[in-house]
Symmetry: C2
Subunit: 177 residues, 2 copies
């Protein structure tokens, strides 16, 4: 009922549905790889520090902002929903890693900061974390890392463009160009 699986060469003219197998394989490999690394990092954070990856990530956002960030800021940076951050922050305040107060300039907003204890804990974790990543990437030389950075940057730009345009084939709604 469906053609298209077994005629890889030939059959290229004639509205053939342009096979994007290479792109698909690349995406799959990218996804597998980050799932793999992420899983390993999560496991190690749990085993050695009894902390979850999302909490670590949140603290990582905060460490470079000694004056704090609002929940929205964190949410955008982490690319997760607002509601998600609310819960994460609640648990981290509870455990003493975070300090949370109402913004002085905007009564809607909460400003969160690492507490001293939170900062200490994070530094210890971050140091090990950096070693783990370096170890996992130790099979690459400097040039390869450079090339990867560049190409992944290109993918990122390309993806962003595709996201702005919206799903292929979907008529642009409203937005006049």
């Amino acid at each position: 009922m469906h053609e298209r699986v077994h005629l890889d060469h030939e059959a290229k003219a004639l509205e053939a549905p342009a096979d994007h197998a290479a792109e698909l394989r690349l995406w799959l490999r990218l996804l597998t790889l980050s799932t793999m690394i992420e899983g390993e990092v999560r496991r190690r954070l749990r085993d050695r520090f009894d902390v979850t990856l999302p909490r670590f990530d949140l603290m990582a956002q905060l460490v470079r902002a000694p004056d704090g960030m609002t929940l929205s800021d964190v949410s955008k940076r982490m690319m997760v929903s607002n509601g998600n951050v609310t819960g994460l922050v609640e648990r981290l305040v509870e455990s003493g890693h975070l300090d949370r107060r109402v913004s002085e300039t905007d009564r809607r907003a909460q400003v969160i900061r690492l507490t001293d204890a939170g900062l200490d804990a994070f530094r210890a974790m971050a140091a090990e974390h950096e070693e783990w990543i370096a170890e996992m990437l130790s099979g690459l030389d400097e040039d390869e890392i450079d090339t990867l950075m560049t190409l992944l940057g290109k993918v990122k730009a390309s993806t962003r463009t595709a996201m702005e345009k919206g799903p292929a084939g979907a008529p642009q709604e409203d937005v006049p160009r």
Copy 2:
């Protein structure tokens, strides 16, 4: 209290903790990118097909196995826990996409297959999905895709090695070499 943040050049001898900034940045970019793409794919699957990404992924595993797979097989391939697959499968059986029966050769195992309806639904989704990915990667030429495949393969191999060795610094337990 902590040194190390602001002395990027100089201070390289003397047990400097070998900065792995490049590796860390690469990992961060990789993670950001797959989070971005994954999020967009999830959003589109939901909007256009009212299906979740994990369900789509599970069906994708099954489509090339007309004779079915066991839950364990699926769990390994998807790199998620067994319990996770149990729940996913339950919902997909419920919705009529999957068929599940006890293995004829191993009474512990469940064999799952796509139903006809499941196969049809999956094909429709997969076709669009492929277009989405192709669109997001359209900023890259063939060579760049090739290079990325190769380099990511290398990262994968390197990561696997690091995972087998276990966390750096952790004494190998038991395993005599």
